[in-house]
């Protein structure tokens, strides 16, 4: 298969970026999108040109490093899947493919398609953990957890922190990420002692990072490679309202 690539090139955070066009020739349909970029980069290196910088790590959809906007969609046209699990057979032969970094102010650009997503880490550092050292795993039945809650907690915990939700959101809001990180602890008894403070601190950090505000368009859940439901945002809103009420009455 052959493709024309329209790729965002930018030397560093301060320089002005622009799109550059490259040819990807003789690509096997089962090549992954990142492998296709590797092939193009090999050719660029052979021609002594700077290869296209992009992030990747596990290449099996669990690390969330491959933050690419492909043809106007975070992680490309196949959902749910991270860009590393996107295969070239998903595209029509001979077409132009536009590749851009995730765009959001809290995701400063490092180089080409590489962005700095540490804003998401700082949201988790604000309260997305349990402070007490709990030791090794306890006997499974010693803390009762209703099945429904356990299921929801696991669903929320599937978030890989790739940032696609914020990249796809018309407002660059990171509500789905924060919702997942707040919810997976809120559904479990282990998360209960810090429940009120956690949501307050994490929302404050999310706002401070400069993310936009959720307008309930649900674009986030459509691109999420971990299929986190936007209903967790409703859960986050509930948690936040509860925290504000509790703190207001002095609890």
């Amino acid at each position: 298969m052959n493709f024309q690539l329209n790729v965002w090139r930018q030397a560093n955070a301060k320089s002005k970026g622009k799109f550059a066009t490259y040819e990807a020739r003789n690509i096997a349909p089962d090549t992954s999108f990142l492998e296709m970029l590797d092939i193009v980069n090999d050719e660029l290196t052979e021609r002594s040109e700077a290869p296209i910088a992009f992030d990747s790590d596990c290449r099996e959809g669990i690390c969330g490093a491959c933050a690419l906007t492909i043809n106007g969609q975070a992680h490309g046209p196949k959902h749910p899947a991270a860009a590393c699990q996107l295969y070239m057979r998903s595209f029509d032969d001979g077409k132009t493919i536009t590749v851009e970094p995730f765009r959001a102010k809290p995701f400063p650009l490092v180089r080409d398609l590489v962005i700095d997503r540490s804003a998401l880490d700082r949201i988790v550092q604000a309260g997305g953990f349990i402070a007490a050292r709990a030791g090794s795993a306890p006997e499974a039945n010693s803390i009762p957890v209703p099945k429904h809650n356990a299921d929801l907690a696991i669903e929320a915990a599937a978030c890989i922190g790739c940032g696609a939700c914020a990249a796809a959101c018309p407002n660059a809001s990171a509500m789905l990420f924060t919702a997942a990180k707040v919810s997976h602890l809120a559904f479990l008894p282990q998360g209960a002692p810090e429940r009120t403070l956690r949501v307050t601190k994490m929302v404050r950090q999310m706002d401070a990072e400069g993310f936009g505000n959720c307008t309930n368009t649900y674009e986030c859940e459509a691109v999420c490679p971990a299929e986190i439901s936007a209903s967790f945002i409703a859960k986050l809103n509930r948690e936040y309202a509860r925290a504000v009420l509790q703190r207001s009455v002095g609890e």
């Binding site: 329209n6 965002w8 799109f19 906007t69 043809n71 106007g72 969609q73 046209p77 959902h79 536009t98 851009e100 765009r103 959001a104 102010k105 809290p106 796809a168 018309p170 407002n171 660059a172 809001s173 509500m175 307050t200 929302v203 404050r204 999310m206 706002d207 400069g210 993310f211 936009g212 505000n213 959720c214 307008t215 309930n216 368009t217 649900y218 674009e219 859940e221 459509a222 691109v223 439901s229 936007a230 209903s231 945002i233 409703a234 859960k235 986050l236 809103n237 509930r238 948690e239 936040y240 309202a241 504000v244 703190r247 207001s248 002095g250």
Partner: protein
């Protein structure tokens, strides 16, 4: 409320205020439609209804002030949120391909501002009784009530005025197709199963309002309703 300043400065707090004020305005829109639809029952009904409203006196003003505050807060916080949103993505995408985000959900500020312009016109038109040479000439009905019925009919006989009403109502409908399901989510009254049902319900609700409201100018333009007094 010790934590209140933090609440209304936070993204979620602002959204909740927008949602709550939105609910107030939505309830008004329902009530207003039910009142107006009495035009199809004849002049007696609408004119009596309008007189009852005016007779409420201070209560009417309480409702009006509540609505005014709701409108102000709804717009103030939405604009504040929308400005944040613009700042959150200084560099946009070259190519954009939305999957789930509906047209209505992405254009709430625009649809809302057109509705605001429409509401201002509407208040001047029927509450201020402007833009129509016949309004000051209207005599009271046999019960000595203001003839709202004839005022509405003469008002809507102007094709341009009716067209503007229909455009304003269309944008209100667009606004409500998203807003009516969105407020459940903002207030946390939503889960996975409910989301598609709310989205569907909101569309049905918004379009029913559209049909109800536009029925009045359309009926007048089609000549189905005549003024109670000839001028």
């Amino acid at each position: 409320m010790t934590n209140f300043p933090g609440f209304y400065r936070s993204s979620i707090g602002k959204k909740m205020i927008v949602a709550l004020t939105g609910v107030i305005l939505m309830l008004f829109v329902i009530g207003h439609l039910l009142g107006n639809l009495q035009i199809f029952l004849g002049p007696r009904w609408v004119n009596d209804y309008a007189q009852h409203l005016r007779d409420l006196g201070p209560l009417l003003w309480a409702v009006r002030i509540t609505l005014l505050i709701a409108v102000f807060l709804h717009i103030y916080f939405t604009v504040s949120l929308a400005l944040d949103n613009r700042r959150a993505r200084p560099q946009g995408y070259e190519k954009r391909n939305y999957i789930k985000a509906s047209y209505a959900s992405r254009h709430m500020v625009v649809s809302g501002l057109v509705v605001l312009a429409f509401v201002v016109f509407h208040l001047l038109h029927f509450t201020g009784r402007k833009f129509n040479a016949r309004f000051p000439m209207l005599k009271n009905d046999p019960l000595n009530h203001y003839d709202v019925y004839s005022m509405m009919v003469y008002g809507f006989q102007n094709v341009y005025v009716s067209a503007f009403y229909i455009i304003g109502l269309f944008l209100l409908t667009l606004h409500l197709t998203h807003g009516t399901s969105s407020f459940f989510q903002s207030l946390g009254l939503n889960d996975k199963k409910l989301t598609p049902q709310l989205a569907f319900g909101a569309r049905v609700f918004a379009w029913l309002l559209f049909i109800g409201y536009t029925a009045i100018p359309v009926a007048v333009l089609l000549g189905l309703i005549h003024p109670a007094q000839q001028l």
